[in-house]
C-alpha cells in the first residue's frame, strides 16, 4: 500500500536526538499532512523522508530500497521537495527557475530539449503564473513566488511531492490557491503529496491522511476525523478545542477555545522556538 515508508528511524542534530524509533508509511496517491506543535520534529521528519537529512539509525525505503543509498539523481526523478522559505539567486526569472526542475532529467552540457520545454510550459500554466514567466523571482509577491517554486517542483515530474509549510506567510486567498492546486494535482494526476501544515483546518480539509507528531513520535494517524479529536488536540497541541463538522464539506473543523492546563504552565515557564 505504501511505496515510501520509514522503518525504526532515529534522527539527530549532532548529539541531540530529535526523533527516536520512528516507523511510518506514506499512503500512495493521497495527500498526507504532518501536523504538530513548533519544535515537534515534523519538519525534520519530512526532510528525512525526502532524504535531505540522513537518519542516525534505521532507514527510509522508497520502492523497497533504502532511499539514502540510492543515487540521489534517480531519487530526484521520483520525489521532489520544496523546503521552507527557499531563495532564488537575484535576477533569475520564473521560467528559468522552473527550468531547474528539469535538472535530474538532464545530462552534462545538454540544454533544454523540446520535451523539457513542454513540461516547463505545463508547470507554468498549471500553477497559473504564465504572466510572470519572464519576471525575476525576487520581484513577485509571496503567493506568486510560492507558486513559482511549486512549478519548479512540478517540472521535476515526480510521483511524490514533499512540501514544508507551503502556505506560511501567504494571505488567506493565496493559501487556498496553493492548497487547491495541490488538491488538483492529487486528484487529476494521482500524485502523492506530503506536507507540513500549521493550519489544522486546512490539513483536515485537504489531506486524506493526517499524522500528528509530538516530540518526534507519532501520537495519532489516520483520516482527518480520526486525528481531529478533542483528545488528540489536547495531547499534541496542548489546546482545548471543540470539533464541529464543516457545514459545507462535513470534514472536522477545530475551534480552539483555550489552552489545556498543562500547557498553560509551559507557556508561562518558557517559550520554545521552532
Amino acid at each position: 500500500m505504501g511505496r515510501l515508508y520509514a522503518k525504526q528511524v532515529d534522527i539527530a542534530y549532532g548529539d541531540r536526538i530529535i526523533v527516536e524509533q520512528l516507523s511510518l508509511t506514506i499512503p500512495t496517491g493521497k495527500i498526507t499532512a504532518l501536523v504538530g506543535a513548533n519544535g515537534s520534529g515534523k519538519s525534520t521528519i519530512l526532510k528525512t523522508l525526502a532524504r535531505i537529512m540522513k537518519p542516525k539509525d534505521g532507514a527510509v525505503f522508497l520502492d523497497g530500497k533504502a532511499i539514502h543509498s540510492q543515487s540521489t539523481k534517480e531519487v530526484a526523478k521520483q520525489l521532489a521537495i520544496l523546503p521552507q522559505n527557499p531563495t532564488a539567486p537575484d535576477g533569475l526569472t520564473v521560467s528559468e527557475l522552473v527550468g531547474y526542475g528539469r535538472f535530474p532529467h538532464q545530462r552534462g552540457f545538454g540544454s533544454l530539449t523540446q520535451e523539457d520545454k513542454r513540461i516547463i510550459q505545463w508547470a507554468i500554466e498549471v500553477t497559473g503564473i504564465v504572466e510572470f514567466r519572464d519576471r525575476p523571482v525576487e520581484q513577485l509577491s509571496g503567493g506568486q513566488r510560492q507558486r513559482a517554486w511549486i512549478a519548479m517542483a512540478l517540472a521535476q515530474q515526480t510521483d511524490f511531492l514533499f512540501l514544508d509549510e507551503p502556505t506560511t506567510f501567504l494571505d488567506m486567498a493565496h493559501q487556498l490557491e496553493v492548497l487547491e492546486l495541490l488538491h488538483k494535482l492529487n486528484q487529476e494526476e494521482q500524485r502523492t503529496i506530503v506536507m507540513v501544515v500549521h493550519d489544522l483546518n486546512h490539513a483536515a480539509r485537504y489531506a486524506q491522511h493526517m499524522i500528528a507528531i509530538k516530540k518526534g513520535k507519532v501520537v495519532c494517524e489516520g483520516a482527518p476525523d480520526q486525528v481531529m479529536t478533542h483528545d488528540v488536540l489536547r495531547e499534541v497541541f496542548g489546546i482545548e478545542a471543540d470539533i464541529v463538522a464543516d457545514p459545507r464539506t462535513g470534514v472536522p473543523l477545530c475551534l480552539p477555545y483555550g489552552l489545556a492546563h498543562a500547557s498553560v504552565e509551559r507557556a508561562h515557564s518558557h517559550e520554545k522556538g521552532a
Binding site: G14, K47, A50, R51, I52, K54, T72, K73, E74, V75, A76, K77, L79, A80, I81, L82, P83, P86, T87, A88, P89, D90, G91, L92, T93, S95, E96, G99, Y100, G101, F103, P104, Q106, G108, F109, S111, L112, Q114, K117, R118, I120, Q121, R133, D134, A153, Q156, F162
Partner: protein, 342 residues
C-alpha cells in the same frame, strides 16, 4: 508557438551573453595592443608590427618577445584564473563576497613564499623558479586545512562555516607572516612586499606554460559543472532534492577553485580583488547562469588584470607599481559604487 515562448528568455540571455563576451574579448584585444606599446622602452605601434612579423631589431625582439608578450599573456591568464575561481567560490558558498582569499589561498601562498625566502639566500638562479611551486603548495595546503576544519562528520561542510573558518585561518596566517617579515633583511623584505601586493613578477614563457594547462583543464571542467553550480546556488535542501550529491560536488568544485587560484597566485603573487570583482561584474552583465557567468568572469578578470598591469607599468614610469595595488585602486571605488547602489 508555445515552445517559441518558452525559448524567448533563454534565447535573450544567450544573445546578451554572446554580445557581452564579444565586447570583453574586443577590449582585451585592444588592451593587448596598447599594452605592447607601453613600457620603459618605447615601441611604437609600427615597431611592434615590424617586430611581430620578424623585421624588428634584436633589442626590439628581446623586449617584445621575452619581456612584454609573456607578461601580457600571463596577466590575462592570471586574471581569468582568479576570476573563475572566485565565481566558483561565490556559487558554492552562496555568498557574493567570497573570493579566493576565502580559502586562505593568498595567505597560504604568501606564507609559503615568505618561509622560502627567509630560509633561502637570494641568489641568482634556481631557487626563484621554485617559488611558484612553493606558493602553490602553500595555497593548496591551507585550503585543505580550512576545509578539514570546517568539516563536521555527518553534516559535511556548511558554506557559512567554511567562510568563518577561512577568515579565521587567513587572519592567523597573516599574523604569522608579519612576524616572519620583521626578521627579513631589507632586500628580502622588499621582494616579499612586492610579491604580496601582487605583481606579474617573473613573467616569462615558462610561467605561461606552467599556468596554461591548469586553465585548459579546469575551465572546461567547470563549464561542464555549470548547471551543478546553478543548482548549488539554491541551497542545500533544494540542491539535494534536485538530485545533486552536494558534498561530492562541492569538494570537486572547491578543488577546481583551489587549483585555478593556486596556480594563478603562484605566478601572479597575492593579487586580491580580481577574484571578487571579476565574477561580480560578470554577473551584472550576463545574469546568474554559470554557463555564461563562468566564461564572462574569465574574460572580465583577464581584462581587469591586463588593464591594471598596463597601468602599473605606465603610471610611474620608469618605475613600476605592483599590479595588485592598481587592481585595488580600480576595484575599491567600484565596490563602493555597488554599495551605494544597493
Amino acid at each position: 508557438m508555445k515552445s517559441m515562448q518558452a525559448g524567448t528568455m533563454e534565447h535573450r540571455r544567450k544573445i546578451r551573453a554572446a554580445q557581452v563576451m564579444a565586447v570583453l574579448g574586443a577590449l582585451i584585444l585592444a588592451a593587448f595592443l596598447i599594452s605592447m606599446n607601453t613600457g620603459f622602452i618605447k615601441l611604437s605601434p609600427w615597431d611592434v608590427m615590424k617586430t611581430l612579423v620578424g623585421a624588428g631589431t634584436e633589442k626590439q625582439e628581446l623586449v617584445l618577445f621575452d619581456f612584454r608578450l609573456p607578461r601580457i599573456v600571463l596577466s590575462v591568464l592570471v586574471g581569468a584564473g582568479l576570476a573563475v575561481s572566485g565565481a566558483i567560490l561565490q556559487g558554492v558558498s552562496r555568498n557574493a563576497l567570497a573570493d579566493p582569499g576565502l580559502l586562505g589561498i593568498s595567505a597560504g601562498a604568501g606564507l609559503a613564499v615568505i618561509l622560502f625566502i627567509s630560509f633561502y639566500p637570494m641568489t641568482e638562479g634556481a631557487p626563484v623558479y621554485l617559488l611558484p611551486l612553493c606558493a602553490f603548495a602553500g595555497a593548496s595546503l591551507t585550503a585543505a586545512v580550512i576545509y578539514s576544519l570546517a568539516f563536521r562528520k555527518g553534516q559535511g561542510v556548511a558554506p557559512t562555516r567554511l567562510i568563518l573558518v577561512g577568515i579565521a585561518v587567513s587572519a592567523g596566517i597573516s599574523a604569522a607572516m608579519i612576524v616572519l617579515t620583521i626578521k627579513l633583511n631589507p632586500e628580502k623584505f622588499q621582494f616579499v612586499s612586492v610579491w604580496l601586493a601582487g605583481s606579474i613578477w617573473g613573467a616569462n614563457w615558462h610561467f605561461v606554460m606552467a599556468l596554461l594547462p591548469w586553465l585548459m583543464i579546469l575551465l572546461p571542467y567547470v563549464m561542464v559543472k555549470a548547471r551543478v553550480l546553478d543548482i548549488l546556488r539554491l541551497g542545500e535542501p533544494l540542491a539535494i532534492g534536485l538530485g545533486t550529491s552536494t558534498e561530492r560536488e562541492r569538494i570537486r568544485l572547491l578543488a577546481a577553485a583551489v587549483g585555478l587560484a593556486g596556480a594563478s597566485v603562484a605566478v601572479g603573487g597575492g593579487i586580491g580583488f580580481v577574484g571578487l570583482i571579476g565574477p561580480h561584474l560578470a554577473r551584472r552583465l550576463v545574469g546568474p547562469h554559470h554557463q555564461y557567468l563562468i566564461p564572462a568572469s574569465a574574460l572580465a578578470g583577464g581584462l581587469l588584470l591586463i588593464v591594471a598591469d598596463t597601468l602599473a607599468r605606465w603610471i610611474l614610469q620608469p618605475s613600476e607599481i605592483p599590479v595588485g595595488i592598481v587592481v585595488a585602486i580600480i576595484g575599491a571605488p567600484y565596490f563602493i559604487y555597488l554599495l551605494m547602489k544597493t
